[in-house]
Symmetry: C2
Subunit: 270 residues, 2 copies
C-alpha cells in the first residue's frame, strides 16, 4: 500500500459546501487516516462529470468521492470513475419524500443560493453591523445589537462576531476591555447600559501571551504579567456584574459561536 | 392535517453545524414544504437526550429530526421520541470504516473543534487580514493577499472577503472603485502592481440602486444614473485590464466565494 495520503474528493454541482461540511465531519471520525482533500464545485454537466471521472481514473490511489449531485445523468457519468462513491443525499431523500408527500426538486443549487431575499439581506446586514461596530466602534449603535461581546485584546471577539453574523445572521458588536476599565467598581461607561446583552470571552493567560507575541513580540502588552493581569481583571469584572462568559482556549470560532448562541438564548436567523 | 409548519430539529452532541448544513440542503430539495427549524446543539448526555425526547413528544405535529450524535446510548435515548429520525452519519460510517480499515472514533466534537492549531490559526489570521485590509485600508499589505476584490461601493466586496477568510482561510483584501478611478486609462495606482491578484465584482445597476437606497436614501450616490455609470465604468475597467469579474446579482456570498475560488484558481486552506 502506498504511503501517499488517500485522495478524497468533495464533488458538487453547485458550491460544494454541503459536501465539504459533511465530508469533513465524516473524515473527523477517522482521525488516524491520512487524507488529501480536493473540492470540485460546479460539476453540472455530463462533460464536466466525464472530465472529472477521467481525472479520478488516472490517480495512483483509488479515491473516496463524497458527492451531492442532483441530476441523475451527471451522477451516473461521475460514478463511472473508480473509487468509493458516497452520495450524501441518496439515503435521505426517499424517507423525506415519503414523510413530506412530495418528490424532491431537481433544481440545482437550491441549498446555498438566495432563497429568501429578506432573510439573506438580514444576514448581510448583520455582517455590515459587525464590521461597523468592531472593536468598540460606533457604540451608539449597540442598541441594535443582539449581543455585545466583551473581552481583552486578542481574545477572539472579532472573528466570533463575524461568524455569528455570517452563519446565523446575529447582530453582534464587540467592545475591548483595556486598562481604564480595570480596578473600577462599575462596568465601562460605554457599555454599562447594555449589561443584559453583554457576553464575555476569556482565555488562558499563556495562550493569550502566545497570541499577543505573534502580533507585537517582546512588548509589555505581550508579557506574561500583563496577560495574567488582564485576564484575571476581566473575569473579575464579568463575575461582579453577572456577565456570562466563555473560556475560548482550545475552542474554535464555530464552537464559541454555538456556545454563545446557546448560553445567551439567541435565535438563529436562517 | 394542521396548517402549522412542520417542526424540523437539527440535533447534535456538539455545535450542530453539520446537521444544520446537510439538513438545510435536504430541505431545499422540498421547497414547497413549510417547515420551522430549531437547532439543539450539545445534546451530549442521556439527561439532555431524555429532556429533548420529552419535548419532541409534546409537539402538536410529529417532527423530523436530523441528528449527528456519536454516543450510541445518547442516540438511543433520543430515538425514543416520536417523529422521523434521520441519522446523518449512520449510512456512511460502515462503508468508510471498511475502506479505511479502521473503526470510527467515538470522540464527540471531532469535526468543528481545533484539530490542527497551525491551520486554524491561519484561518483566524486570514479573518484579521480581511478586517485590516477592508475597503482599501492598508494597501501596503496587499502583497500578502491571495486575492484583491475590486468593485464599486455596495457591490458586496467585504462579506465576500470575510467569507473567503472564515470558511477557506484565504487572505482576501478589497479595494473600492470610486470616481477618481473612472475615465482613466490605467488601473488605480494603489492596485496597479497587483493586477494578477485582482478579481472584480459587478451587479445589475437596479439592484445596486436598491442596496444604496437602503443605506443613503434619496442621495445622488443612490440614484439610477449614478449606479448605471459606476457599474458600466467598472466593467469597462475590468475588461480593459483583463481582470476576471463576476456578476453577483441574485448570487449568495457562499456562491460568490465558490466562484471566485474556482475562477481565480485559489486553494482552500482547510
Amino acid at each position: 500500500m502506498s504511503d501517499a495520503p488517500l485522495p478524497v474528493f468533495f464533488v458538487s454541482d453547485h458550491t460544494g459546501l454541503t459536501a465539504e461540511v459533511l465530508g469533513h465531519s465524516l473524515l473527523a471520525r477517522f482521525e488516524s487516516v491520512a487524507v488529501s482533500t480536493t473540492t470540485r464545485p460546479f460539476v453540472d454537466s455530463l462533460e464536466r462529470a466525464d472530465a472529472l471521472a477521467s481525472e479520478l481514473a488516472a490517480l495512483e490511489r483509488s479515491p473516496v468521492i463524497f458527492s451531492t449531485i442532483t441530476d441523475p445523468a451527471v451522477r451516473a457519468h461521475l460514478s463511472a470513475a473508480p473509487g468509493l462513491h458516497i452520495d450524501l443525499f441518496a439515503p435521505f431523500l426517499p424517507p423525506l419524500a415519503e414523510a413530506f408527500g412530495h418528490q424532491p426538486t431537481t433544481r440545482v443549487g437550491a441549498a446555498h443560493g438566495i432563497r429568501d431575499l429578506a432573510r439573506y439581506q438580514a444576514r448581510i446586514d448583520a455582517v455590515e453591523f459587525s464590521l461597523a461596530t468592531d472593536d468598540g466602534s460606533n457604540v451608539r449603535r449597540y442598541g441594535q445589537a443582539e449581543v455585545v461581546m466583551v473581552g481583552v485584546s486578542r481574545v477572539g471577539k472579532s472573528p466570533t462576531c463575524l461568524y455569528l453574523a455570517m452563519q446565523y445572521g446575529v447582530r453582534a458588536a464587540n467592545f475591548p476591555l483595556a486598562d481604564d476599565d480595570f480596578g473600577q467598581d462599575g462596568l465601562p461607561g460605554a457599555i454599562a447600559e447594555y449589561r443584559p446583552k453583554l457576553f464575555g470571552l476569556t482565555i488562558h493567560p499563556g495562550r493569550l501571551r502566545e497570541l499577543r507575541q505573534r502580533r507585537r513580540p517582546g512588548t509589555t502588552y505581550a508579557s506574561a504579567e500583563r496577560c495574567e493581569y488582564e485576564v484575571s481583571q476581566s473575569e473579575r469584572l464579568f463575575r461582579r456584574h453577572g456577565v456570562p462568559f466563555q473560556d475560548v482556549t482550545n475552542v474554535s470560532v464555530e464552537e464559541v459561536a454555538a456556545l454563545v448562541l446557546q448560553r445567551a438564548g439567541l435565535e438563529r436567523h436562517r
